[in-house]
């Protein structure tokens, strides 16, 4: 909303941004990063989602109306953005405890102790990349800060990474700045969290866990690189809880997971990164945001046909409001992720199914009645009208969503089979899977190669 208002202001057209009262702090913080620290907002009382029609109308008349008029006719006081230290400025001299107190006080830390980023430690990281320290990898909203190779090293030090992880850290931030990912949405209310998935030789070279407990902390590479991501969101993008980060509940950062490429090769499947066009033998990192997930225990059967119903049912049950990223708020941006434990993938492959065949089967089986799909879009996303027939007739969605006018016809969660992402990882001896609920356009999957 503010970005649209800023577009208008930049064109010489005054704006009023409608902001719920509890979002005023967020709006103030975001406006600074957009270069308009005094852009005015008009308050919206409470949250419209919980008000009757009469209450909403009354609140608009009593509060929002005057706010809009004020925004458009009264010139706000000038405002400035305070200065900050430079990237190579020493901001704290002292003991480990002193440094950590300073970093906590100035909101530079996630609450866990950080490794003090000293010149010597930063330079140790920089020796593991050919990139110039001052190279700008991109500019990150909401603060509009430059993500430099130097700042990647600084936050890698703080997170407790080893210097040799530097190529992975650079690739992670290169993915973060990719506009398809949409890092600017990282502070939105669903509070989804990013997941990094590793492929390639770097997994074994750097000691990433790719077997039992792959999503558990306790493995330095997986854990610290995961923490690094969240520190970058804080220090490079500017997402601070109670300011630019408006997660309703939020998630803790996720440890990095790595695919079990030995198993993938043995069953004749291709690694996850290959689905993004990465060549075999090339290390790569994939990111996407997920609002949650569920462990699906004890998937049983001796053939893929026997296993599929349980898995497809689990996938379908992970998705409710998120289908607005299939039809609606983010057309064709839903990419469900399924982690298969190795013996589960082996059993599916033993039945003659390729990964593509498995995805096709999911596409055909993980469906819901059209009437349910439309009801969720209408009732849960608060868009005036969603109708799959009209959407198809208007050319906005494919025919698979409107094969007939039967309201009980089964429609898919995604537009095409390859929209399902499948990764083989986890305990070698357990027959389970994990299904992630994807956040659509608010964290679209992006893959970057990792360059030594």
């Amino acid at each position: 909303m503010l970005r649209a208002s800023v577009a208008a202001e930049s064109a010489g057209i005054p704006s009023a941004t409608l902001v719920c009262e509890s979002f005023a702090t967020l709006a103030k913080a975001a406006s600074q990063g957009l270069g308009y620290p005094n852009i005015p907002v008009a308050p919206v009382r409470g949250h419209p989602g919980l008000q009757s029609k009469e209450e909403l109308q009354q609140n608009v008349r009593e509060l929002t109306l005057d706010g809009v008029i004020c925004c458009l006719t009264e010139t706000p006081a000038m405002a400035t953005v305070g200065g900050e230290p430079g990237p190579r400025d020493v901001v704290c001299r002292g003991s480990f405890e002193d440094v950590n107190e300073y970093f906590l006080k100035h909101e530079l830390s996630d609450g866990l102790p950080v490794v003090p980023p000293t010149i010597a430690k930063i330079e140790a990281f920089l020796r593991h990349t050919k990139r110039k320290p001052d190279e700008v990898l991109g500019v990150l909203l909401p603060d509009s800060r430059a993500a430099t190779v130097w700042s990647v090293a600084v936050n890698g030090v703080m997170a407790g990474c080893r210097p040799e992880y530097m190529p992975v850290l650079v690739a992670a931030v290169e993915a973060m700045v990719d506009h398809r990912y949409g890092v600017e949405h990282s502070g939105n209310t669903p509070g989804g969290e990013n997941l990094m998935i590793l492929n390639g030789p770097v997994i074994k070279q750097l000691g990433f866990n790719y077997t039992q407990g792959v999503m558990r902390d306790g493995f330095q590479a997986n854990t610290t690189v995961g923490r690094f991501w969240r520190l970058c969101l804080r220090n490079l993008a500017g997402f601070l809880p109670h300011k630019n980060d408006k997660a309703t509940f939020g998630n803790t950062w996720r440890v990095v997971i790595a695919e079990n490429e030995d198993v993938v090769a043995n069953i004749g499947w291709t690694p996850h990164a290959a689905d993004f066009g990465v060549a075999a033998g090339q290390s790569a990192l994939t990111i996407a945001r997920y609002t949650g997930g569920n462990h699906i225990s004890s998937v049983s059967g001796s053939t893929p046909e026997e296993l599929l119903p349980y898995i497809a049912d689990a996938v379908t049950r992970q998705y409710s409001w998120q289908i607005m990223f299939t039809v609606g708020q983010g057309y064709d941006t839903l990419r469900p992720l399924i982690l298969l434990s190795p013996i589960l993938a082996e059993t599916i492959a033993k039945g003659g199914w390729s990964k593509a065949r498995f995805k096709q089967a999911l596409f055909e089986r993980a469906r819901m009645p059209a009437r349910e799909f439309e009801r969720m879009l209408r009732d849960w996303t608060q868009k005036p009208t969603w109708n799959l027939a009209e959407e198809h007739q208007a050319g906005r969605i494919p025919q698979v969503f409107h094969e007939s006018d039967d309201p009980d016809r089964m429609v898919p969660l995604v537009w095409r089979p390859e929209d399902f992402h499948v990764v083989v990882t986890g305990d070698l001896g357990r027959n389970s899977c994990y299904v992630f609920a994807h956040n659509g356009v608010l964290g679209f999957p992006v893959c970057r190669e990792i360059q030594a």
Partner: protein, 103 residues
């Protein structure tokens, strides 16, 4: 035993944006054209309808541009919609913009 001392550096990336001036505000809304711009959530359409009614009562000559002229400002087309917004606003003769819903 002596305690280690550290010289810790600033970890944030440098800000890249300069403060810019706001557009000149209007002397009145009478006779002006207000564009509704929406992210398609949180009943913005209903809020706009009520605002239209209330604004029209105070400024009988005020005119409005419907939100569907501009597209969804928070969907998969957000970047394109926002980038095109200045041209679209000029094309339709908007004097002011009301953008919602930040909730």
């Amino acid at each position: 035993m002596s305690e280690n001392l550290y010289e810790a550096l600033w970890p944030r990336g440098p800000r890249q944006v300069k403060v810019k001036p706001l557009a000149k505000r209007l002397d009145t809304l009478e006779g002006k054209t207000i564009a509704w711009v929406w992210d398609y959530v949180f009943r913005g359409n209903e809020v706009f309808e009520q605002l239209e009614e209330s604004l029209h009562a105070r400024y009988p000559g005020v005119k409005f541009l419907h939100w569907d002229l501009f597209g969804n400002t928070h969907g998969s087309d957000e970047r394109a919609v926002v980038a095109n917004l200045p041209d679209r606003l000029r094309e339709f003769g908007a004097d002011a913009v009301v953008s919602g819903m930040g909730c």
